[in-house]
């Protein structure tokens, strides 16, 4: 079975999934899994052999011959797509079932197949025109998936924001591909590093793909969209869809000649985005918004790697660049795995309790032990802690940065701030997810809804287990995953072609395994010892206060307040405070809301300027006929001036 044949089968099964999906849910699931499997196998074959698969057909689409290419880089993203797509399809089967959502579930299944198809097209198409088509179709499918639950106003608003932002990005891509076609004389894509005149295009590319990737400060659409979408959609959005933006950045930064400035810009944006993203995440009270902002952070980490790699290429392919790129690409997978796991976990919580507000949850571990433990695992992974996968990729990026710093190449020293910021990001991520997991799952139930929660169904649990397994495997056996990553790196820059890991990944794996095993051993030992000594259940010790109530629990807001306070200048939290008054105070409230600062403080004013211009224009269409004829005269005069005056 050649990759081509497998891909064809995958495409066919997904396409038939579009047709049959709305009617037959089971068949749909089978088809999606078949498609995912086909894509996965073909991509893995390419990653194993390292031989890119390319197909130029005589079949014209939109006046351009179809040209597909599956090299290491696209295979890497295709693997991600097929795994996450398949797993969350399984999850969706139970989470967004016909019984619960009779009017939106059927359409959702069709759009799902469309989304997977179009994203596959994005990574495969090697022709500008077809790339754009696939890109826009993927945007559109994602939009309809986000707004599956159209009845809710905030969902529609979030969907529109997503659509508008993505289209703004796409407009940049229109310009990008148009200019590319104009300068190269064709829509066909491929390596063109040697054409220096293409350098300015990289800024268009950066903006266009940056919007989709949720690169700070272009991430405005991301939080609301990810938070309001159905959880399986949030999963594929943050697991795969934003990675498509990363794919575009990596792909074209590999193909186009990139000025060194671009490397610096990406590095700086990445570092800032990582730090600010996690700061925003820390301050959120909505579980899914928190996860969404954390995606901004991880995109930042990936961009740090990419930026360092670009600096490396600018310094005749210094090996540290390769290290950083490998880290970034591995982080693409890792983030896909653990962020999807977390979103699915959040989905189960939402499914069980009907709320995303962390201050309404708590103590869920009793009702849903599986979700709790898996979410905890994901939290460890996303905080980049050993022995899980998040640490591996961050470690690689770190090493790249450290080598760059210690390479003593004069200007490269400027990466050192990035290292410190990355470290702070890591610590903040730890704080953020210590908050998220413990506030939601530990302690006492804060509301009735939380008390009446129930464990999620087998399919949902199974898909979460699969992702957790992925986190564990990548974490414990990183060396197994080096060859595919190195294929991707090779596809990005042939100068770095080599399958031997430049760093002792095996030893890292050994340490991780040791820690994991030791942890299990000691934990069970301690548990047994405590049991042996006699376990007694008692009231929580509240310093002598005998009747602790739920309201006395530490809340998420207060947990985050210290660190969030350091970023108050950025977060600009809005607080509605009603203090207790009088001798016998009745009730007091403190509601704190953290706005999407970039959107509400920067973009909204700008858009208001545009709207004012529009209002002024509309006033000109006031319906008075004589004025209309005056306009004709004005047009006449303006045109004559345009003829007479030459620029």
């Amino acid at each position: 079975m050649t990759p081509g044949l497998l891909l064809l089968l995958a495409a066919l099964s997904l396409a038939s999934g579009i047709v049959t999906g709305p009617r037959l849910a089971r068949t749909w699931l089978a088809l999606v899994l078949a498609g995912a499997a086909g894509a996965l196998i073909s991509a893995w074959a390419v990653l194993e052999s390292g031989a890119p698969w390319e197909w130029r057909s005589g079949f014209h689409l939109g006046g351009e011959p179809l040209h597909l290419r599956l090299d290491g880089l696209s295979a890497l993203f295709l693997v991600l797509l097929s795994v996450i797509g398949g797993v969350s399809a399984v999850y969706a089967r139970q989470y967004w079932s016909d019984e619960r959502y009779p009017d939106s579930a059927p359409a959702g299944r069709a759009w799902w197949c469309g989304l997977m198809l179009s994203m596959g097209g994005v990574v495969l198409c090697s022709n500008g025109l077809h790339f754009l088509i696939a890109w826009e179709l993927f945007t559109l499918c994602a939009f309809f998936l986000i707004t599956l639950d159209r009845r809710r106003r905030e969902v529609r608003a979030a969907g529109w924001l997503y659509l508008a932002a993505s289209h703004a990005g796409t407009i940049c891509l229109f310009a990008f591909f148009g200019m590319l076609a104009a300068r190269t004389g064709g829509w066909d894509l491929g390596p063109m590093r040697d054409r220096a005149e293409l350098q300015p295009l990289c800024w268009l590319m950066l903006t266009g793909f940056g919007v989709k990737a949720g690169m700070f400060p272009l991430h405005i659409w991301l939080p609301s969209a990810h938070a309001n979408a159905p959880s399986h959609v949030s999963t594929i959005m943050s697991g795969v869809a934003i990675k498509m933006g990363i794919y575009g950045l990596v792909r074209f930064s590999g193909w186009l000649p990139m000025p060194e400035t671009a490397g610096w810009v990406i590095l700086v944006l990445g570092a800032i985005g990582a730090l600010f993203g996690i700061a925003f995440a820390l301050a959120q009270s909505d579980l899914k918004r928190l996860l969404a902002y954390c995606s901004v952070e991880n995109i930042g980490i990936i961009l740090i790697g990419l930026g360092t790699a670009l600096l490396g290429t600018a310094r005749d392919h210094a090996p540290w660049g390769r290290l950083a790129l490998a880290g970034a690409l591995l982080h693409v997978w890792n983030h896909g795995a653990f962020k999807s796991l977390l979103f699915l976990g959040a989905g189960s919580v939402l499914h069980a309790t009907g709320t995303r507000e962390m201050s309404r949850l708590g103590g869920l571990w009793r009702a849903m032990p599986w979700t709790a433990s898996l979410f905890g695992l994901g939290a460890v992974a996303v905080s980049g802690l050993p022995p899980l996968n998040g640490f591996v990729s961050e470690w690689l990026v770190y090493l790249g940065l450290f080598d760059a710093a210690s390479s003593r190449a004069a200007s490269v020293g400027a990466v050192m701030p990035a290292i410190v910021m990355l470290a702070m990001t890591g610590a903040l991520a730890l704080a953020c997810f210590a908050k998220a997991s413990t506030i939601v799952f530990l302690g006492a139930c804060r509301t009735q809804a939380a008390a009446q929660a129930h464990e999620c169904g087998t399919l949902m649990r199974g898909s979460m287990l699969a992702l957790a397994g992925a986190c564990l495997v990548i974490g414990l056996g990183p060396v197994l995953f080096w060859p595919p990553i190195s294929r991707a790196v090779e596809a990005w820059s042939p100068a770095w072609a080599s399958t031997v890991p430049p760093v002792p990944l095996a030893k890292l794996g050994l340490v991780q395994v040791t820690v994991a095993l030791a942890a299990c051993a000691v934990a069970s030992w301690l548990w047994r010892k405590s049991r042996a000594n006699g376990l007694r259940r008692g009231l929580t010790w509240d310093c002598g206060y005998a009747g602790p109530t739920v309201r006395m629990q530490y809340t998420g807001g207060s947990f985050a307040s210290i660190a969030a306070g350091w970023f108050a200048w950025l977060l600009q939290p809005q607080r509605v405070l009603r203090r207790p008054r009088g001798l016998l105070p009745t009730d007091a409230t403190c509601i704190e809301r953290v706005p999407e600062t970039i959107l509400e403080r920067v973009l909204t004013p700008l858009s208001q300027i545009v709207m004012r211009a529009s209002a002024a224009t509309r006033r000109l269409q006031h319906g008075r006929l004589s004025a209309y004829i005056l306009y004709v005269l004005a047009g006449l005069i303006a045109m004559s001036l345009c003829v007479v005056l030459r620029p």
């Binding site: 050993p386 450290f402 470290a423 413990t438 030791a518 942890a519 007694r536 530490y554 947990f559 210290i562």
Partner: protein, 302 residues
């Protein structure tokens, strides 16, 4: 051979670590003019706790016990990664410095997880403080590691930690010492033996722990202290240049000195107000940063 080495080092960490808190307490007692508890007090406590039963909060999940265990493992393995001066490292390799830092982070995650188990107001407070201040502490730590890395051009602890004492060493020492105080929750950041829960970080996180878990936590804390003391000494003293016995002596002496230093600080300083803590930590970070810049400058020519 390596197996034996591992066991030996493990034993060392297990047995020696609890000594340091004892020494600190002794020093404090001397300064205060009291006799104070015996140096081996912690050993007795651990032994007693290990035999005691456990009282679990009704809200607590198994994580309440698993957390301390994993934290202890993390600290212990971080200790094993740390080279012991002349004895060298067990298996030093590129980038193990980062693993060490992140193992400590893992320990932090697990302790705060365990703290949040009980749904108590106080322990949440402690956990929040722990994870928040760690942000600055970790920045300082990474800056220190980075300066060592630039000094030696390596990211492996074994080579990193035998620097020629440069001008930055003093700054580095000051910075790392402050980080040590912060990470181990000593005065002026925290007061290990106050009983006013509102003013504590580490102690308040373990309010509800009892029996073996508490023993594990205490022992882990002791190991962490020793780890930071070792790190400090090795980062500052040019042990690599000395012969075996002198180096060993210097190492032990250094550790003792820093322990005594902690004791003195505790008895001479008062605990800071919490809103001052970030300030002090930022100072530590800046110290490490200056050390880094000096290393960078010094390295620039070479």
């Amino acid at each position: 051979m390596t197996i034996l080495q591992i066991i030996a080092r493990l034993a060392l960490w297990l047995l020696v670590a609890p000594l340091l808190p004892g020494i600190i307490n002794k020093v404090k007692a001397w300064v205060a003019g009291r006799r104070g508890p015996p140096v081996l007090q912690l050993y007795y406590d651990l032994a007693r706790l290990w035999r005691k039963g456990v009282v679990l909060s009704t809200l607590a999940s198994p994580g309440f016990v698993i957390g301390p265990a994993v934290a202890w493992v993390a600290v212990a393995s971080a200790g094993l990664l740390l080279p012991l001066g002349p004895a060298g490292g067990l298996f030093g390799f590129r980038g193990d410095a980062l693993i060490l830092i992140y193992l400590l982070a893992l320990a932090r995650f697990c302790t705060s997880w365990a703290a949040m188990e009980t749904g108590s107001a106080f322990e949440g407070m402690g956990a929040a403080r722990e994870v928040s201040y760690a942000v600055l502490a970790e920045a300082a730590l990474i800056a220190a590691v980075l300066s060592l890395c630039i000094q030696t051009g390596s990211t492996s602890l074994v080579t990193m930690l035998s620097p020629s004492a440069s001008a930055g060493a003093v700054l580095l020492a000051a910075g790392l010492f402050t980080v040590l105080l912060a990470e181990n929750c000593r005065v002026p950041f925290d007061d290990p033996n106050t009983h006013l829960e509102l003013t504590m970080i580490h102690e308040v996180m373990v309010l509800d722990h009892s029996g073996p878990p508490l023993a594990v936590i205490l022992h882990g804390a002791a190991m962490k202290l020793m780890l930071f003391a070792l790190l400090l000494v090795e980062a500052v003293l040019p042990l690599g240049k000395l012969t075996w016995p002198t180096a060993a002596g210097a190492l032990v002496g250094g550790v003792l000195a820093s322990t005594v230093g902690i004791g003195l600080v505790e008895s001479l300083l008062a605990r800071l107000a919490f809103r001052r803590v970030p300030l002090l930590l930022t100072t530590a970070f800046l110290l490490c940063l200056f050390a880094l810049l000096i290393a960078w400058k010094g390295g620039g020519g070479a």
